[in-house]
Amino acid sequence: MTSSSNAESFLSKLRQVPRLPFIWQFTWVYLTIMLFVPAIALLLKASTLSPPEIWRIATSPIALSAYDVTFVTALVTATINGVVGVIIAWVMVRYEFPFRRILDAAIDLPFALPTAVAGLTLATIYSDSGWIGSLLAPFGIRVSFTRLGVAVAMLFISLPFVVRTVQPVLKELEPELEEAAWSLGASQFQTFWRVLLPPLLPSILTGVALGFSRAVGEYGSVVIVAANVPFQDLIAPVLIFQRLEQYDYAGATVIGSVMLGASLVILLAINLLQAWGRRYDI
């Protein structure tokens, strides 16, 4: 067998199974190195600990309070952004006003602005001497370096999700539908509740879940805005980082695995919500 005939047979094979082998090979190898092996490393490391040990670390008081700060604050902020996000999407789709396009484009800012910058500027503005913080300070409300600061950072980073999931659905809903309901005597509230909300609901919930997922995992902006004091405003990702800094790999691994498990559950929920949203598609 000469090398040229070898090459020829290889080429003819390539023609027979067009392009698939290489792109699949590359996809799998890349995913394995970059994604699968690191994920397995985390799970295997966790499996070297005994179950009682895992349970003890995962449910230690400091971890429980970190979950509380992380998940409850993320849920509250994602819900707030769910409500405001619908209003923003509505205003952007249905109303015409000056600077609308610029406002619309700026909503993606949290996707584009590095989180460290977001944390830095939010910490300054909402501090006692900052532009907004100084207005709140006389009322005894402190934002930066408290749990409220965590909430503000999470509001910032989860802002675009609901707007961007609701906007396309809202664009396809014809205004005639609302006008029909309206002219049949429905109040504005009834029109919203009975006519608009049902078809929008899957996309709203998907957006809230996406925002929640992002807020739960957020580190950069929160670590700068918060004081990171245990039992007050310490979030789970910061706790993982602190454990690593103390070379407590077991602690970091267990809490990291809890966070990974939570991400997978949220991801599953998002997929189910999206499937639910597509049930209207023909």
Binding site: P18, R19, L20, I23, T27, Y30, L31, L35, V37, P38, A39, A41, L42, V84, I87, W90, V91, Y95, R101, L103, A105, A106, D108, L109, A112, L113, P114, T115, A116, V117, G119, L120, T121, L122, I125, W131, V152, E176, E179, S183, Q188, S213, R214, V216, E218, Y219, G220, V223, I224, A236, P237, I240, F241, L244, T253, G256, M259, L260, L264, N271
Partner: protein, 293 residues
């Protein structure tokens, strides 16, 4: 006046005052809702964004420029560019391959594989960094092996690159896949029957069709690669002048009360965000125009 013409309410045989009242009510709702949106966006987005620029020049232009002369700053800038220069091309090649593979074949578990590719978006960046530390760190799987070979990955640039690639993995694949699905295999098949090689098909047919989606994915990958904080801070140890990218430089400067340095570096990153948004908007308009054609 024109809205009156198109308003079906005005055609309703009800008293005129009624429809006028409704229109007035609608006008009020509009103003209130726009007001809510503007105030909310100002509090959460615009005032913080404006503040970055104000603070950067607060101590005069000199302090601003002095930051750029710091050795640590220059190093951080260089590392940030390096992260993007390596992570963006690698993830672009991966994204195109994965999208091509997924778009042209239906198989059981396809949806699952798409979800897996999306996984880095759901995982906390700190957990991503932790995974890489557990794999390549001193006590990690490959730790002893790497130690023996004298290769450092954690607290060094390779680990930071791995972390950056991890968090930016899905962008290109997820932007290109829907474009390929919409395009369908017909054009590529036609080119192939006309005798084009696989490479020619990709270069002449596939690539021109996906170019806007690809560019969109590239821009997002680049923005995230330059701005990543959580994953990098875990694997890099944030060593001043050695393993600090610009976002880490910002945090460190802020913690050391070098507020103006922090904001000077932050301005560069904010400008990156503005450029990203402008390019995104241009691309969105381009693709929207194509849709209506």
């Amino acid at each position: 006046m024109t809205s009156e013409v198109f308003n079906p309410l005005s055609r309703k045989p009800s008293p005129k005052t009624d429809s006028q009242e409704l229109a007035k009510k609608g006008e009020w709702t509009k103003l209130v809702l726009i007001g809510i949106v503007v105030v909310y966006l100002a509090l959460v987005l615009f005032i913080p964004a404006l503040n970055v620029f104000v603070q950067a020049f607060d101590g005069g232009i000199e302090g601003f420029i002095n930051t750029f002369r710091q050795r640590e700053f220059v190093n951080a800038l260089r590392l940030t560019l390096l992260m993007a220069a390596i992570a963006v091309p690698l993830n672009t090649i991966f994204g195109i391959c994965a999208a091509l593979a997924l778009a042209r074949k239906r198989f059981p578990g396809r949806t699952l594989l798409i979800s897996i590719i999306d996984l880095p978006f759901s995982i906390s960046p700190v957990v991503a960094g932790l995974m890489i530390v557990l794999l390549y760190g001193r006590n990690g799987w490959f730790g002893p092996l790497l130690d023996a070979a004298g290769i450092r990955i954690i607290f060094a640039i390779p680990g930071m690159l791995l972390a950056t690639i991890f968090v930016t993995l899905p962008f290109v694949a997820r932007e290109v896949l829907p474009v390929l699905e919409e395009m369908g295999p017909e054009l590529e098949e036609a080119a192939k029957t006309l005798g084009a090689s696989d490479w020619q098909v990709f270069w002449r047919v596939t690539l021109p069709s996906i170019r806007w989606g690809l560019l969109y994915g590239l821009i997002l990958t680049n923005a995230r690669a330059m701005g990543e904080f959580g994953a990098i801070v875990v694997v890099s140890g944030s060593i001043r002048g050695k393993t600090q990218t610009l976002p880490l430089f910002v945090e460190e400067a802020y913690k050391q009360y070098h507020t103006q340095s922090a904001y000077a570096a932050a301005v560069l990153l904010a400008l990156l965000a503005v450029v990203t948004l402008v390019l995104k908007e241009i691309l969105e308009r381009k693709t929207a125009i194509k849709d209506t054609e």
